[in-house]
């Protein structure tokens, strides 16, 4: 139950900047997800917080106390490693009991706690086995039990659910979130599954190539992505991007992609053109309205492929050479090759600076 602060933390491995100037504040009891593609420095960040790696630069604080040089054992951290890192020579029971033994907890208390956490994670029937006799998902839950049992101040989870089947994963997500709120333990949860991050975390830190891209609540990440990377990373199917420029004709502003012109509001147009000429238009598949008849300010396209998803469907629309993905209800009858019009809601479109990738609106 501590506040974790990373101040200008960097970690270099030779020339590789695994983490680059990371500033992050995790509030007491908060559940934060570290989200990013493979190799973006998530594990490295966790290992620095755990005290395994020493930052090349920067400081780490727990509750305003500088713990950068504190050894791991004095940080009271529970961690699930990406590879589970169970002790191969110990039974599941002893694996879970190990942190408690190190704390010199009385035997009967250890027993109670181990059994309780094992039951919670549905591994109480496996306590006598060795890790090599477990499936990946079972090993993962043992690792989780080992991290939880010591009632840590900070819980570091490196993709703890990646090996579970869909059903168990959904159960564990809910269980983990409930548990986290109940124990009020400050939690940093690494994942590259954005659905997992969105559904579990209070705040999400999106990383790419060692750099923090945006750190905000899930809905803000979704509604107001700070840059093109975040916009494209959050949301499924991902946001559509179209390059173009802003032009003014007789006091009216247009986004011109070269293929179509989209009229935009005057104030919006002025703001964009004050920052850049070359802009990227972004809009989410779920914010597109499809109509079959010509409408004002609609983009004309041709239905390319339709992918039914059950509850709704993804329509791939070809606008000249670009494919635009739209989410539509399956009621509309669409056939490939058919002409279609895309209507965008101006309140839900985004513009990005083409050269920097920063969001303008």
């Amino acid at each position: 139950m501590v506040k974790v602060v990373l101040k200008e933390v960097s970690k270099y491995f030779g020339k590789v900047r695994a983490v680059d100037n990371l500033n992050l504040e995790i509030k007491d009891g908060e559940f934060v997800a570290l989200l990013g593609p493979s190799g973006c420095g998530k594990t490295t960040t966790l290992l620095m917080i755990a005290g395994i790696y020493k930052p090349t630069k920067g400081r780490i604080y727990f509750d305003n106390e500088d713990i950068t040089d504190l050894p791991p054992k004095d940080r009271n951290i529970g961690m699930v490693f990406q590879s589970y890192a169970l002790y191969p020579h110990m039974t599941v029971y002893n694996n879970i009991a190990f942190p408690l033994k190190l704390k010199k907890t009385p035997k009967h208390v250890i027993h109670e706690k181990v059994v309780k956490v094992a039951r919670l994670l549905r591994i109480d029937n496996l306590l006598d086995r060795k890790p090599s006799q477990l499936s990946g998902g079972q090993q993962q839950r043992v690792a989780l039990a080992r991290a939880l049992v010591k009632e840590p101040d900070v819980l570091l989870l490196d993709e703890p659910l990646s090996n579970l089947d869909a059903k168990l994963r959904i159960y564990m997500r809910a269980e983990l979130k409930r548990l986290q709120k109940e124990l009020k333990v400050t939690t940093i949860y690494v994942t590259h599954d954005q659905v997992e991050a969105m559904s579990m975390a209070d705040r999400i830190a999106v990383m790419n190539q060692g750099k923090l891209q945006q750190y905000a609540e899930p809905n803000i990440l979704y509604d107001k992505p700070a840059n093109i990377f975040v916009a494209g990373f959050i949301g499924n199917p991902p946001m559509n991007f179209i390059e173009g420029s802003i032009m003014e004709v007789n006091g009216e502003y247009y986004f011109d992609s070269g293929v179509f012109k989209l009229k935009i509001h005057r104030s919006l147009g002025e703001m964009i053109s004050s920052k850049t000429e070359e802009a990227i238009l972004g809009f989410r598949p779920e914010h597109i309205k499809l109509v079959t008849t010509k409408a004002p300010n609609a983009i004309k396209g041709i239905v390319y492929v339709v992918e039914p998803l059950g509850r709704d469907m993804v329509v791939n629309i070809k606008v000249n050479d670009t494919i635009i993905k739209a989410l539509a209800s399956p009621e509309i009858q669409l056939t490939p090759g058919q002409q279609i019009y895309i209507i965008l809601d101006e309140r839900k479109i985004h513009f990005f600076n083409k050269s920097t990738g920063e969001a303008i609106v």
Binding site: P88, K130, R146
Partner: protein
């Protein structure tokens, strides 16, 4: 596949069968047949030692413990009486245990450093270690003689044996470090880190996690170095002049030296006596020794 005519499937089956038969034949020729002389030699030893007389070398005629009398009475061959077998056995055992103890202690620490720590010249050092092992102790005899002499470890009974133990251990350490390094390599970093996060000190990490995981490796190098100390001949032969401080290999050598009146039965019994540790180790720890070559940390 399914549409293939039946006769073709049949002919494929026969071919596969033929191939596996040929494979087994090759294995037998390559691996089993060369071992036959070795087995015959051991059979010869056993028969010779327990029988007053043998036919064709391996067919015993009667049973006797006469050849084993050196275990409870003075060791005599021809006219000469040799020192009692038990002090000699203890000398041999002391060297073997000493070598094994020193090798385990130093190679385990060294192997850990080689496996886990990044330091300048690590790769060069490992190559050097392998090269070291290639040097036979013969070429070091004179240099070692001078060193032992300077250190006052020459010609002083047990002190000389101590010196020999140190030298022998020194010669064994490079290879043993290599073997044990492989065992350390097989422990994932994550496992060590997990232990540190769980609250281990460095020392506790070693004792509770690392050591148990390399125990098979430690077992293996202790057996190897024990046997190599047990059968050390050259160093003892060169540096020990007093019969009281002989070891079994040197004793056996001297007895063969009396070639005019060799008592083959006695020699066979003595040879068997000498191989007892080897036989014990290899029959009890085959699995362990195999794992050195297979390697890996498995629960």
């Amino acid at each position: 596949m399914l549409s293939l005519p039946r006769y073709r499937i049949e002919s494929r089956k026969t071919k596969a069968l033929l191939r596996s038969i040929i494979k087994y034949l090759i294995v037998i020729v390559v691996a089993v047949i060369p071992l036959i002389p070795v087995w015959i030699m051991y059979l010869w030893l056993i028969m010779q030692s327990f029988s007053p007389k043998v036919n064709l070398g391996i067919i015993p005629l009667g049973f006797t413990l006469n050849n084993w009398r050196f275990l409870w009475s003075p060791l005599k061959m021809g006219l000469k009486t040799y020192p009692n077998i038990w002090p000699i056995t203890i000398n041999t055992l002391l060297i073997a245990l000493g070598v094994s103890g020193i090798v385990v202690l130093i190679s385990t620490l060294g192997g850990y450093a080689l496996s886990r720590m990044e330091f300048a010249g690590r790769t060069g050092m490992m190559k050097f270690i392998i090269a070291l092992h290639a040097f036979p102790s013969v070429i070091l005899l004179i240099a070692l003689f001078i060193i032992l002499n300077k250190l006052g470890l020459y010609g002083k009974g047990y002190v000389t044996l101590l010196g020999i133990t140190l030298v022998k251990a020194g010669l064994e350490i490079p290879m043993a470090s290599w073997i044990i390094k492989g065992f350390f390599d097989a422990i994932p970093w994550d496992v060590e880190w997990a232990a540190l996060v769980d609250g281990c000190t460095r020392w506790r990490l070693w004792r509770s996690i690392v050591l148990p995981l390399v125990l098979p490796g430690i077992g293996a190098i202790s057996i190897f170095s024990f046997l190599s100390g047990w059968s050390e001949f050259l160093l003892v032969f060169t540096y020990v002049k007093d019969e009281a401080y002989y070891t079994l290999p040197v004793l056996i050598y001297h007895m063969i030296g009396e070639y005019k009146m060799v008592d083959w039965g006695l020699l066979a019994a003595l040879g068997l006596f000498f191989t007892i540790p080897t036989i014990i180790f290899f029959s009890t720890s085959q699995k362990l020794l195999l794992r050195i070559y297979v390697g890996g940390v498995k629960g």
